[in-house]
């Protein structure tokens, strides 16, 4: 089916103001707090801090993948950058223009350039409208008459996404899940957008269909020079489609890096844990439990996120600094930004701080000894390598940590554990 996309896709005209590789979308300090109201007077009793300070940019022609567990704010982020939601603070710049607080009518011309593909192909298509009406709606709303008329254009779009153009008059219920997702994609492509935000585009689909849609998105990007922001929880899908990946945890980006650096040498402990948790479809690797990091408990509530580093309650490396000071998102390696005091595969950022928190001691029990030893080794090696700042001092605490953590009976922990 993706073959059809290849043959007809070339006929879509490319319109581009931003050269590939230049910043198309820039987000600074983006926040979205949903107020919780209580009582008769509906006074604000608190807020769900769904997105709490994001900084990133999306370059033209690339795919930015956003991963994270449910409730980390990735979908809210998607709705903020498409301006389906109004940010609480921060700015969103599209092609250098501040669109943060544009009103509905001021946003309308921009809607052509920013489109969205939704997760659920069952609820995102109006069951009472035919496919022709659904895919043709963007033209009607924008008052655009494409060359050759709306019907012809819609049929062309249908063939671009690998559907039969003769199905123009059918209703959504006559299509399977994968086909419906293609309809959603055709609708998003109707106005030649520059940026397509796809929120979990394949998670509702069967495995064999998932691959079809992933390949279709790939082909369309190549042919139309699209820029994608793909939000997903499935790390293997995200790796497959993305050029750069942002890992979110409780409303913040904890790591933002090139795909290969991120998957080969994750620096944030959360990224590492998240990747190790993915079940590997290989029965021979099953016994290799040593590679797995089991995180304890669930993601804390975004209503009252933990102080300091938000991951400190589940991290096996957490120290006092982590509880008190929030780590900034720093570019520690070229193209790899991390928000962590004690990153993996890198020099420790807070070497003087060696006392592990109780939470970390508990968490360390769930981390295989090999992982701890290995991370201590690489950190120590890297620290020695980049020995700009007192190598002894940096190397020592790291190894000490490795010693205390995996021991079966760490004497000083006992009172804390009870």
């Amino acid at each position: 089916m993706s073959g059809a996309a290849q043959s007809d896709g070339a006929t879509l005209t490319k319109t581009k103001d931003v050269a590939p590789g230049e910043v198309l979308l820039k987000v600074t300090g983006l926040q979205k707090h949903f107020p919780i109201r209580k009582g008769l007077l509906q006074r604000q009793a608190g807020a769900v801090r769904a997105v709490d300070g994001l900084d990133f940019e999306v370059r033209s022609g690339e795919t930015l993948g956003v991963v994270g567990e449910s409730g980390c704010g990735k979908s809210t982020m998607g709705r903020l950058i498409t301006r389906l939601l109004e940010p609480t603070a921060g700015t969103v710049e599209f092609e250098g223009r501040d669109i943060t607080h544009l009103g509905v009518s001021a946003m309308r011309p921009l809607r052509r350039d920013v489109q969205m593909i939704f997760q659920d192909p069952y609820s995102s298509l109006n069951p009472r409208h035919t496919i022709g009406t659904i895919v043709g709606a963007p033209f009607k709303l924008q008052g655009v008459t494409p060359e050759g008329g709306v019907k012809k254009e819609v049929q062309r779009l249908l063939s671009v996404v690998g559907l039969n153009p003769e199905h123009y008059n059918r209703y959504p219920h006559e299509f399977s899940g994968g086909q419906r997702q293609r309809i959603g994609i055709a609708r998003a492509l109707a106005l030649n957008p520059k940026l397509v935000v796809a929120d979990e585009p394949v998670s509702a689909l069967d495995v064999s269909i998932q691959a079809q849609v992933v390949n279709l998105l790939d082909d369309l990007q190549e042919e139309l020079g699209l820029t994608y922001v793909i939000i997903a929880h499935d790390l293997s899908v995200v790796r497959h489609v993305s050029d750069r990946i942002a890992v979110m945890y409780l409303g913040k980006i904890v790591e933002l890096a090139d795909r290969d650096s991120l998957y080969k040498a994750p620096m944030h402990p959360y990224t590492k844990a998240l990747m190790s948790a993915v079940p590997i479809p290989d029965p021979r690797r099953r016994t290799a439990k040593s590679e797995r990091i089991l995180l304890k408990g669930d993601v804390p509530s975004p209503i009252a996120p933990p102080s300091g580093c938000r991951f400190h309650t589940r991290c096996w490396k957490a120290t006092e600094t982590c509880r008190t000071t929030e780590p900034p998102l720093l570019e520690l390696k070229p193209g790899q930004r991390v928000a962590c005091h004690h990153p993996e595969n890198f020099e420790d950022q807070a070497p003087q701080d060696t006392v592990l928190l109780t939470a970390a001691k508990e968490a360390a029990e769930l981390v295989a000894d090999e992982v701890l030893a290995e991370s201590a080794e690489t950190s120590a090696a890297l620290a020695a390598e980049t020995s700009g700042t007192e190598p002894e001092e940096t190397a020592e605490p790291v190894t000490k940590k490795a010693e205390t953590a995996p021991e079966p009976e760490p004497e000083p922990d006992e009172p804390d554990d009870k």
Partner: protein, 365 residues
């Protein structure tokens, strides 16, 4: 269309017809059909397998392949429920520890259900009753099968919650399901299904609704509990990763039938059915180098009302024309042995499949 096609009725796996199975669980030629206005939905159409105690069988397939219907069939939940005023038509044999369940007295099956065989459902929020506390629900499950007072049962509930890793079980036993997070609810449901030490545990998509980090916790828990209780486990999922993680044997379902079945390693490393190849090729993998392109299976899963004639997979199979005389479109392939304890249902010869796998498929994965 609405007639049960008896002609194609052959036992999938060569088992003797004598009614004394040696395996702990043995399913023979199970068929579950639902009459609907549009026609007969053949959700499961001739499925056979067996499972020993202490072993795990993973059933993989896409939505609508009959995985869940099979598990509900084993639990005997189809006959009780009615679908649009018409009952499901079930035939075949299900032997659990020497008892045939389909012909057994419903009261007897009810006594077994929950005690001998238990089930973990996909969505714990809809499987748990919102109106009762977690404790009350576990106590009820325990007291249905054990003649004990409420206090003892509650102690048992706390013990089980503790065992599945719920912190402060003595307090949380009085919580309502909505007060639990997704992962904790799933743990509570596992506690409830294990409270009677069942010998057969069926987990239907046990981690699909959970995040990866929580999924890893739950998979770990299921594995540990199985070791501890020595029960037979059936894991139903669409995620090959989960199956690889837990199963000793794997059964791949397509269009209501088993297309391939064998030890986990064989199915992953020496798969002998084009559909299994398709599943393996569709999946982006974290443990390998970046693939250039995924190799999807074309088309979509068949409608169970109108299963394609011949091999159900033939419209989507890239190799449908390899066997001669259009046989893939006219004759339904039966499971044939392709290795030790390894069966596949395909018209291509062993040699053809071995060649295609080693030369065309495996290098691209």
């Amino acid at each position: 269309m609405t007639e049960l096609s008896k002609t194609g009725a052959a036992v999938g796996e060569p088992v003797a017809a004598s009614p004394a199975p040696t395996a702990f669980l043995e399913v023979r030629d199970l068929r579950v059909h639902f009459p609907t206005d549009d026609g007969l939905v053949k959700s499961v159409d001739g499925l056979s397998f067996s499972l020993e105690k202490g072993k795990t069988l993973g059933i993989v397939g896409e939505s609508g392949s009959g995985k869940s219907v099979t598990s509900l069939g084993i639990m005997g939940l189809h006959t009780a429920g009615q679908y649009g005023r018409r009952k499901a038509q079930i035939s075949g044999e299900i032997w659990l520890d020497g008892t045939e369940l389909l012909s057994a007295d419903p009261d007897h099956v009810r006594r077994l259900r929950g005690r001998e065989m238990a089930m973990i459902f996909q969505d714990p929020l809809s499987a748990l009753h919102p109106y009762y506390t977690i404790g009350q629900q576990i106590v009820e499950a325990y007291r249905t099968h054990h003649d004990v007072d409420k206090k003892t049962a509650k102690r048992r509930a706390v013990e089980m919650l503790d065992r599945v890793g719920i912190p402060q079980p003595d307090k949380r036993v009085d919580s309502y399901p909505h007060e639990f997070s997704g992962g904790m609810r799933q743990r509570a449901m596992i506690a409830m299904s294990l409270v009677n030490n069942p010998e057969l545990l069926i987990a239907d998509e046990p981690t699909t609704a959970l995040d990866v980090t929580v999924q890893a916790q739950i998979l770990d828990l299921i594995r540990d509990l199985q070791k501890e209780f020595g029960s037979a486990v059936i894991v139903i999922t669409h995620d090959l990763g989960v199956v690889a993680e837990l199963s000793d044997d794997i059964l791949v379902m397509y269009g209501g039938r088993c297309v391939e079945r064998g030890p986990a390693e064989e199915v992953f490393y020496e798969p002998r059915h084009p559909y299994t190849w398709g599943l393996l090729g569709s999946m982006p993998r974290l443990d390998r180098d970046q693939q250039e392109r995924l190799i999807p299976v074309k088309g979509s899963p068949p409608s169970l009302i109108n299963v394609p004639s011949g091999c159900a997979f033939n419209p989507r199979c890239p190799y449908a024309d390899v066997p001669k005389d259009n046989i893939t479109r006219t004759v339904r392939p039966e499971l044939t042995e392709v290795g030790s304890r390894h069966w596949a249902a395909c018209h291509m010869t062993q040699e053809q499949r071995e060649r295609i796998w080693t030369e065309e498929i495996a290098p691209k994965l």
